[in-house]
């Protein structure tokens, strides 16, 4: 991101991250059904991670090709986990 560009509202992003963290901790103690809890927590974590990547790491404002470089390892990570889980499934 070039310095001449307008900066996003970082304090608003901070507020969203704080609210999402509070929601996450509250979800653990509320006593949601297990599957719903895991799904909610994963979605909230993904949302927070996306906010950090898009606004703090400025991926939203970078050339698309750089965003592709940044995202390259994600499918590899999924393949890694799924491949080993397959081994467990076969046992």
């Amino acid at each position: 991101m070039e310095g001449t560009r307008k900066h996003p509202n970082y304090v608003a992003v901070w507020g969203a991250l704080f609210a999402l963290t509070v929601l996450e901790v509250a979800a653990v103690y509320v006593g949601l059904p297990r599957h719903l809890l895991v799904l909610s927590l994963l979605l909230l974590a993904a949302w927070k991670a996306l906010l950090v990547a898009l606004y703090f790491m400025h991926l939203r404002f970078e050339p698309r090709r750089l965003a592709l470089v940044a995202m390259t390892p994600l499918p590899l990570g999924v393949i890694l986990v799924v491949a080993v889980l397959q081994e467990y499934a076969k046992r």
């Binding site: 991101m1 310095g3 001449t4 900066h7 970082y10 304090v11 992003v13 901070w14 991250l17 704080f18 963290t21 996450e24 901790v25 979800a27 653990v28 809890l37 895991v38 927590l41 994963l42 909230l44 974590a45 927070k48 991670a49 950090v52 990547a53 606004y55 703090f56 790491m57 970078e62 050339p63 090709r65 750089l66 470089v69 940044a70 390259t72 390892p73 994600l74 590899l76 990570g77 890694l80 986990v81 080993v84 889980l85 467990y88 046992r91």
Partner: protein
């Protein structure tokens, strides 16, 4: 014989359209994603594949203190990005103030994590599992809520993942201290903000990894 004029070197910004340091940091971070994916993936697989009763994290770990620590790390990420914003506007006073806050936030995170480790070890959670005769063993293993095997897997995975993350934060704090000293000496005057942005990317990445770790290890 007259020499041909040397070809001008290609500009580093060509190609992906970003300067070399930033591209280098992104490539490094891509390798770090694979490193942490291997650790997190191992934890998921161990937990999913464990036939034994796995420990419920919030029965062993102090969630409120770690949530506070998560918040501290998020705050340090905000102060880092504010330092970057100040650097791009050549606001040296703001740059120094925000960098100092970032260093304090990072050091506090590491300090709280060290305190947490000390507390957990004294309670009986070790990298090898739950210590026999400890308070945790009496509460979880002796009552049959958690198997000793699963406790061993949990202990080793917990200390490996959080330990490697803590090591990354510690490295970040050390680097950030040098950057802060350089900022106090006026090293980033006149729009020279590339160093701030590059170290900032690392710092935000460490924050991002903790967001995932906190959810997977502490909350689920």
């Amino acid at each position: 014989m007259a020499h041909a004029a040397p070809l001008s070197a290609p500009r580093a910004e060509q190609g992906l359209g970003v300067y070399t340091q930033k591209l280098g940091m992104w490539v490094f971070l891509a390798s770090e994603v694979m490193f942490f994916t291997a650790l997190i993936g191992s934890y998921i697989i161990l937990r999913w594949g464990s036939a034994e009763s796995w420990p419920v994290p919030h029965e062993i770990l102090a969630i409120p203190i770690t949530a506070l620590n998560t918040f501290i790390l998020i705050c340090s990420s905000v102060s880092m990005v504010k330092a970057y914003a100040a650097a791009t506007q050549d606001d040296q006073k703001g740059l120094r103030r925000w960098l100092l806050l970032t260093v304090i936030g990072g050091a506090t995170f590491v300090g709280v994590q060290a305190f947490e480790y000390h507390h957990l070890i004294s309670e009986g959670l070790l990298p090898s599992g739950i210590r026999e005769g400890s308070a945790l063993a009496a509460r979880l293993v002796d009552t049959g809520k958690v198997s000793a095997t699963a406790a061993g897997l949990f202990g080793s995975a917990f200390f490996t993942m959080t330990g490697f993350h803590g090591f990354h934060v510690t490295c970040g704090v050390i680097c950030m201290t040098f950057v802060t000293i350089k900022a106090f000496r006026g090293g980033y005057r006149g729009g020279r903000y590339h160093g701030i942005e590059t170290i900032g990317l690392y710092w935000h990445f460490v924050d991002l990894v903790w967001i995932i770790l906190f959810t997977i290890v502490y909350l689920i």
